[in-house]
């Protein structure tokens, strides 16, 4: 999670706001939360089109009128990038979508993405005052509505400040890098984003499926960041084509932001993991998403045609993989997870969508071996049933195997979605940086500065594996402190020393 210091305190520096929506609290309270129309489960599991259709004008305005415009506005502090939520919502209620869009843009370069993939139920909507006595305002759906409207009716980008003559290199073009790039470009700094793959977007392109986040939307959000003045270099692999010291010493960059994510897939190291039909979720989803393998043979990259699929893990990535497998024509897809429903890390909405589409939840089930035939093809997953014991170090109840409960789930495809680790390419080529024992870059949490002068870091390379919006919050915070650094307002010597001291503890 981003540091709380970075959130914009509600109302600070602004005169006490007037309520914009001409409705009494009672009238507002009388409106119920509006559902977002979506494709029927039976239909959507046969295509890759986006599941929800989004609000129309009437639904959006009605939903927006539910906002009480409460003076405390806890939703703003609940947003990792500090969007002035009551203001944008009020403008939706007033049908002034352009002003709503401008309000979003003040804080976020990627609203169409956040409106789709943020866990609002844990953030802005979790603290919404209306949620105390009923359902919170559907802030995420409204954000999506405004961002989608804006794509069709572009409002002017805020004018970037005059060039400062400073150059910042961003490594990684995922949500964190894009956010930092947008904010720094607005400040007048020259920004160059370095992306290892052939297309920018990071996890937004390779990880999140088309039916949850259409790639055309990601591309248009990236174009918006480019319009602010950021350049994107693709096929630029940090630690191979260039190193961070080279960027600073030879290529004239004044600061670097590392936002390379946690890209290395974790495997279970069970017998049979190299059988044909066992994939990391990263590989499966990268084929399907970045490489558009679901359109094979219109495109060249193949993906397996499965009949029965086991997806191991229960996070959002696991749900994405399971739902992708269904759309690719699998007869049966099961999530195999060793804990219970309560511990599943995926968003509730994602779990519900998966279940509606027919994904089976084989909970309290732990895989112990992949079984293959004489051709080396996967034919099943040997599993054992679990029960929950005492809480472990993560605070979740520890699963314990039940004796004699071994059984086989027949499947021709297994997709391992149990997490990722940071990529070691940067670590091995940047001597000053310090890393923790999990390979994460160590930073000063306040400024996001690392142990290497002028180098900042954020997103999953620092946090392990978190959410798109947390990565964006990091990017926003980093941009602010990189700007301060470029203005000569950061005491990096003290920061570097404090990080070094931490490693000696």
């Amino acid at each position: 999670m981003p540091d709380n210091n970075d959130r914009v305190p509600p109302g600070e520096g602004k005169p006490r706001r007037e309520k914009l929506i001409p409705l009494s609290p009672k009238e507002r309270m009388a409106i119920e939360r509006q559902d977002m129309p979506e494709q029927e489960a039976e239909e959507r599991r046969g295509n890759f089109s986006e599941v929800p259709f989004g609000y129309d004008d009437d639904l959006a305005q009605l939903e927006a009128k539910r906002c009480l415009e409460c003076p405390s506005a806890p939703c703003i502090a609940g947003c990792p990038v500090g969007i002035d939520i009551p203001r944008f919502v009020a403008h939706v209620a007033l049908a002034d979508y352009a002003e709503a869009a401008r309000t979003l843009k003040e804080a976020s370069s990627l609203a169409a993405i956040c409106g789709r993939v943020c866990p609002q139920e844990e953030q802005c909507e979790a603290v919404c005052v209306r949620g105390k006595t009923g359902e919170p305002v559907a802030i995420g759906r409204l954000e999506r509505f405004v961002a989608d409207w804006e794509r069709e009716h572009p409002v002017d980008d805020p004018e970037p400040l005059p060039p400062t003559g400073k150059k910042v290199a961003i490594i990684g073009s995922g949500p964190s890098g894009l956010t930092a790039a947008g904010d720094l470009a607005r400040k007048g700094h020259k920004v160059v984003i370095h992306e290892a793959l052939h297309e920018p977007g990071g996890v937004l392109m390779y990880g999140i499926p088309e039916f949850r986040l259409p790639k055309s939307i990601v591309r248009s959000e990236i174009e918006a960041v480019k319009r602010l003045g950021a350049d994107v270099e693709v096929n630029a692999v940090a630690g191979r084509l260039f190193t961070i010291p080279e960027l600073l010493e030879e290529e004239g960059f004044d600061a670097v932001y590392i936002a390379t994510g946690a890209g290395l897939p974790v495997f279970l190291n069970l017998p049979g993991e190299n059988l044909i039909g066992v994939f990391s979720a990263n590989e499966y989803l990268t084929r399907a998403n970045l490489m558009s393998a679901w359109t094979y043979p219109y495109t060249d990259t193949p993906i397996i045609q499965s009949d029965r699929v086991a997806v191991i893990g229960a996070g959002n990535t696991a749900m994405d993989a399971a739902r992708t497998a269904l759309r690719l024509g699998a007869d049966h897809v099961a999530i195999v997870y060793r804990r219970s429903r309560a511990e599943m890390p995926a968003r509730i909405e994602e779990i519900e969508h998966a279940e509606q589409e027919g994904v089976e939840m084989r909970l309290l089930t732990n895989p112990i071996e992949y079984l293959g035939d004489e051709d080396g093809r996967l034919v099943g997953l040997r599993c054992v049933r679990m029960e929950l014991g005492e809480p472990d170090s993560s605070g979740r109840r520890r699963p314990i195997p039940i004796e004699g409960s071994e059984h086989v789930y027949e499947c021709d495809t297994a997709i391992v979605a149990v997490g990722t680790r940071p990529n070691p390419l940067i670590q091995s080529t940047t001597p000053d940086l310090l890393f923790d024992k999990w390979g994460r870059v160590m930073i000063d949490p306040e400024t996001r500065h690392t142990a290497s002068e002028g180098v900042f870091a954020g997103g999953d390379i620092v946090s392990g594996a978190a959410t798109v919006i947390a990565a964006m919050g990091d990017g926003k915070s980093a941009a602010r402190h990189i700007h301060a650094y470029l203005e000569g307002e950061l005491d990096t010597a003290a920061i570097i020393q404090s990080i070094r001291d931490r490693t000696e503890e």
């Binding site: 295509n47 890759f48 089109s49 290892a196 793959l197 052939h198 297309e199 920018p200 390779y206 088309e210 790639k215 055309s216 994107v232 693709v234 096929n235 630029a236 692999v237 191979r240 084509l241 260039f242 890209g263 290395l264 897939p265 495997f267 190291n269 993991e273 190299n274 059988l275 044909i276 039909g277 994939f279 990391s280 990263n282 590989e283 990268t286 084929r287 490489m291 558009s292 393998a293 679901w294 359109t295 094979y296 043979p297 219109y298 495109t299 060249d300 990259t301 193949p302 993906i303 397996i304 045609q305 690719l328 024509g329 051709d375 080396g376 093809r377 021709d412 990529n423 070691p424 390419l425």
Partner: protein, 280 residues
Amino acid sequence: MSHMHEIKAKSMLADGIVRLDVECPKIARKRKAGQFVIVRAAEGAERIPLTICDADAEAGTIALIIQAVGSSSKRLCDLDEGESISDIAGPLGLPTRLDEVDGLCVCVGGGLGTAPLYPIAQALHEQGVELVSILGARSSELIILRDEFEAISDQLLIATDDGSEGHKGFVSEVLAQVIEERETAACVAIGPVLMMKACAEVTRPSGIPTIVSLNPIMVDGTGMCGGCRVSVGGDTKFACVDGPEFDGHEVDFDGLAQRLRTYQVASKHECRLPREQLPH
């Protein structure tokens, strides 16, 4: 969005095997022996790993040797001089560790494996290592880089399946002969999985260090997909970041061969939607 990479020279090395010298100045400067690039010919093409076979830092070009086997490699082979490749990422993988060779080194190349073998042999030659090179193919006209190897090897031996040149049979059989006759310090063997396995078995009894270079299924080439995982000495390694070169005596070649057959034995998904319904 990406810088296009112009093809400066194209030559046919053998039937279906093409050499492209491609504009790629930064990689040409940076690359070291043993490294590879991921190439995407054009929009919609697969990302395929190709060894950087040679590089000219001054001209800013790298040499790629490609055999048309699938639709994406065919697309590359069909490109002409003056046309461009959309995406080239690299240099990827760890460079060859050369300092360990003290004495005679036998370089064994099978089929297209001769291409990735060349930069390693060249680097060894530049270090003054004595080289015996063994090149093999189905038949004589399919031997590639013959002149190049001739120029850097103290002895060049050929093996062909059909006996049209040199030894009739496998390169591993020639390798067995060489190490029996000559004190051998190291071996580098690159080619089809079965060939590398056979060579590793030939050198195993005498404990001659044997480097192999693997070319498994790969998508991104930066450690992200795990498609290139291979068991080496019982540990799972990623060929793209931990390799592509490994100790031939430790590699699980059977597992590697098995995974390479993924898209041959498993059926591939085929899109049933009309083309106009696809998003762009």
